[in-house]
């Protein structure tokens, strides 16, 4: 198999890099939609980890997990976009730094 010619570590490093890109995106961007996209990158980088471990171990458990993660990410997308939409209706903005009523 072609895929096993590439060592496992390569996949893990790739997914770790993707995860960090996603995390940095969440921390630095101010647009709620882009933050949400960064979270999706994080989840998908974890999916890559799962699949590569799964291939490496030769069992299907990790790939099974990925399907559940995809379903959960879809549910999260539905809820998240609905919340952003509700915010836009009230405040005409999707930038999180303009949403600051709650402070101590």
């Amino acid at each position: 198999m072609l895929i096993t010619n590439i060592p496992l570590e390569f996949y893990l490093v790739l997914s770790a890099i993707l995860f960090v890109i996603g995390a940095v995106g969440v921390l630095t961007r101010r647009n709620a939609i882009i933050i949400f996209m960064s979270i999706e990158i994080m989840l998908n980088s974890v999916n890559l980890t799962f699949v590569s471990f799964s291939i490496y171990f030769g069992d299907t458990l990790g790939q099974l997990f990925v399907f559940f993660v995809m379903a959960i990410a879809a549910a999260e997308a539905a809820i998240g976009l609905a919340i952003v939409l509700a915010l836009y209706r009230l405040k005409q903005t999707v930038f999180v730094d303009e949403v600051n009523l709650l402070k101590w």
């Binding site: 933050i35 979270i39 994080m42 799962f50 471990f53 458990l61 919340i83 949403v99």
Partner: protein, 495 residues
């Protein structure tokens, strides 16, 4: 085969029933038209049946620890049927029931009563029960996500009120971010051991058949993810904003049942992975991790209590104090002994009742736009609203940890287990921070009892159904304070 299926159906009746009925309730919403009371009663009935069946299984000892060695035909070994799970079923069920009972008049007053509220609370409860029954990291993750996603919706339930939507957005973005960490941690634990079942993970660690680097990284990331969910120190900033902005009854539900569920997930990780790893290997890394956790627990208690002093808004004060209480529960995880798990579970149970009670009072005193939440609005409350003032005394003294009430024994037991586990300094920090907390709880009581009403008197009506929430939670707080040994011994026996 048929026998085994029937056996599992009866063992898992609480969780199967509430999950199926939660979905049915959503369909039911669409059929019943404008009549909201039917859904209210239906949701209460579902939760009551769930609590009763879980309680019956628990007290008749129908479940058996040996059950968990058999692969069950329906769940294929993914659901665990042990005593802890049923105890937490009962706790989550009661929390949801108290919330729903108190919620109806609150939502009516805010002119925002919709039927899906009840189905969402029932579904969130079924997600928590999934965590309680999980024998597998996959199910634990699904349960946490199921719970969180329904919580995002509930936090933004008043979708025409900016604060509520803001709370939902913050909760959603940070919660989903935390889920990413949790998921990455689970992936690395899978990579370290090649399996997802708690039992097999323990076996592999005992047999030293795992990758140390991935395991340490995985546990760390899982802890980061779960610390977000329980609002522990470096990851607690979202909590005050969310609990302040969300509808008050929902804040009560999020900050108690949600926290108890995440604490249970931490107990699962501590029990099945960290405890085993320390016992078999004397792994220095894991002990370092435990010490870091101890520092975080101390910081959580101090930060929560010190920041709560500065608050003038009762809801926000309760929100910060809920951060501090997460720190107390974390002490049980730090000790990481059977006593510690029992202590954390006991404290979670007690905390659920006292916190839901105090949030129900705040909800009752709030006006329809969510105003009148400051300390000064509570002055002279004992004259105008003697029943509510008396109930508030019970909850606040219990939260502060004053002896006859359950909060005292919960703290005492957790401090004792932390000393037994060799964390004397952590216990001292805990005691100091709980002394600090007495200040702001008593300050509210002074406003209620020793100040004359200066501002206009709150014109909300006396609680109707919410009175039951207050009475039940006050009764449970007092009972668990006077007879704590029943629950503690049950928890210790079941471990």
């Amino acid at each position: 085969m048929a026998n085994e299926i029937i056996k599992e159906l009866s063992l898992g009746f609480p969780i199967f029933f509430i999950s199926a009925m939660g979905i049915l309730l959503v369909i039911f919403d669409a059929i019943t038209g404008k009549n909201k009371i039917i859904n209210y009663i239906f949701a209460i009935a579902i939760l009551s049946i769930t609590i009763c069946s879980a309680g019956w299984i628990l007290f008749s000892q129908y479940y058996n620890e040996a059950n968990n060695l058999v692969i069950h035909p329906i769940s294929m070994g993914m659901l665990a049927y042990n005593g802890y799970a049923y105890i937490f079923d009962v706790i989550f069920g009661i929390a949801a029931l108290l919330t729903i009972i108190a919620a109806r008049e609150y939502n009516e007053r805010a002119e925002f009563e919709y039927k899906e509220f009840y189905s969402l609370v029932v579904l969130a409860t079924s997600g928590m029960m999934m965590i309680a029954h999980s024998a597998d990291l996959l199910l634990m993750f699904i349960g946490i996500e199921f719970m969180s996603i329904t919580f995002y919706v509930l936090a933004g339930y008043f979708r025409k009120r900016v604060t509520s939507v803001e709370a939902a957005l913050k909760y959603f973005l940070l919660g989903a971010f935390a889920s990413g960490f949790l998921l990455y941690g689970i992936a690395l634990i899978y990579g370290a051991t090649g399996t997802l079942t708690f039992q097999t993970i323990s076996q592999k660690i005992t047999a030293q058949d795992y990758n140390n680097l991935y395991l340490i990284l995985g546990i760390t990331l899982v802890f980061i993810g779960l610390s977000f969910k329980i609002a522990a120190f470096p990851f607690h900033q979202w909590a005050p904003d969310v609990y302040h902005g969300a509808p008050t009854v929902i804040s009560g539900f999020l900050s108690t049942a949600g926290k108890a569920a995440a604490i249970f997930a931490l107990i699962l990780i501590g029990k099945n992975i960290m405890f085993v790893a320390i016992r078999t290997l004397d792994s220095n890394h894991i002990i370092t991790l435990q010490n870091i956790l101890a520092v975080l627990s101390a910081a959580t208690m101090l930060v929560g209590n010190i920041t709560a002093i500065a608050q003038n808004n009762v809801k926000r004060m309760l929100a910060y104090s809920s951060v501090a209480h997460a720190g107390y529960m974390l002490m049980g995880i730090v000790a990481n002994t059977p006593d510690g798990w029992a202590g954390a579970s006991f404290y979670a149970a007690v905390y659920v009742f006292m916190q839901i009670g105090s949030f129900a009072i705040v909800a009752n005193l709030e006006d329809k736009d969510g105003e009148y939440l400051d300390f000064s609005h509570y002055s002279g409350l004992y004259k105008t609203r003697p029943f509510i003032a008396a109930m508030m005394v019970v909850f606040l003294l219990s939260l502060a940890g004053i002896p006859p009430f359950a909060g005292f024994f919960g703290k005492y037991y957790i401090f004792k287990t932390a000393i037994d586990a060799g964390y004397l300094w952590l216990t001292i920090v805990g005691i100091v921070s709980s002394l600090i907390s007495v200040y702001f709880y008593l300050r509210l009581l002074i406003y209620i009892y020793f100040r004359e009403a200066t501002e206009q008197i709150l014109d909300t009506s006396e609680p109707r159904a919410a009175g039951f929430t207050l009475l039940i939670s006050a009764a449970l707080t007092v009972l668990l304070g006077i007879f704590p040994s029943y629950l503690i011994e049950l928890l210790l026996y079941l471990r």
